[in-house]
Subunit: 152 residues, 2 copies
DNA sequence: TATTGTTATACTCTATAACTATA
DNA sequence: TATAGTTATAGAGTATAACAATA
């Protein structure tokens, strides 16, 4: 169980080190959710629709940082898998509203649980101070990203 | 500049919240590096070869958590872009060693700088305690992932 | 004329299965 | 027979350009 006791201050973590850490997390998280065989992109769209309700396709594309054609195709795949459905936007004949189905909601819930579990497995191997640091750091970074994107 | 002063303890960050934060970071980091037009997968391979030197194709696939055919194609694309080259493995006629070219090293360096800069932009918007938390949390998580993968 | 969405086209990324060559 | 790598095939994810329909 060779537990490595970390020196939390001495090993000055450079931005380069930090970015390598982020990339490791990317790969780890990506591999952790398997239900429904969805990609992270599909999973993110499903999760957003579940949290925020029906959404215009264009808004969805912008919110996810994707192109409109990309979102069209992604929604088509999700629709084919009965995870979302398209409905007409009564207030604008051009628009399409995308909403999650009950199946989609359930798949989304399960995937989020899987990812959360994978992260939990990591976190519980950390020391207590490190765990606290994680609880502060991740939400703070998420908030900084949101601020940054709303300002631009 | 509406600076939000966070309560660092009251808003109990659940694993679900944390995973949402991680996903935001994934998308943010992914969009931050543009030099060479490489994907994260390609970038990761290039970075690894730069850090660790020439590597067998199979080892590269295993290290990156990819299939062998996937790695074959990725290396082929990187080779076409003159970022890596294949050489024979003298000790094993079946094997192929992949190594980064000078061009590849330079592109890799620049991309890492771009990502680091993007992360730095986020971090400098955080409060001092939050910054400290990031410096502790990200390396700790990376270490936990490594431990987890070497144990399985 | 501008906006919303889709289609067309072309890459990258990914996996599994089948194959070749070497150990 | 087992291992290293490639080829074949297929599908997801992405982008830009061209298009249709509506505002």
């Amino acid at each position: 169980m060779h537990k490595r006791v970390m020196d939390l201050s001495a090993s000055e973590a450079s931005p380069e080190d930090l970015i390598v850490a982020v990339e490791k997390m990317v790969r780890y998280v990506r591999q952790s959710a398997v239900t429904g065989g969805l990609s992270m992109a599909a999973s993110a769209v499903l999760g957003r629709l579940g949290r925020e309700g029906p959404c215009r396709l264009t808004d969805l594309a912008r919110a996810e940082g994707a192109s409109q054609p990309n979102m069209t195709q992604l929604v088509t795949r999700l629709e084919r898998a009965d995870l979302v459905r398209r409905t007409a936007d009564r207030s604008d004949g051009r628009g399409v509203l995308v909403e999650v189905t009950d199946t989609g909601r359930e798949v989304s819930r399960q995937r989020r649980a899987e990812r959360a579990q994978a992260l939990h497995l990591l976190i519980e191997e950390l020391t207590e101070p490190e765990q606290q640091a994680v609880k502060v750091a991740l939400p703070a970074l998420a908030r900084a990203i949101e601020d940054r994107q709303s300002h631009s």
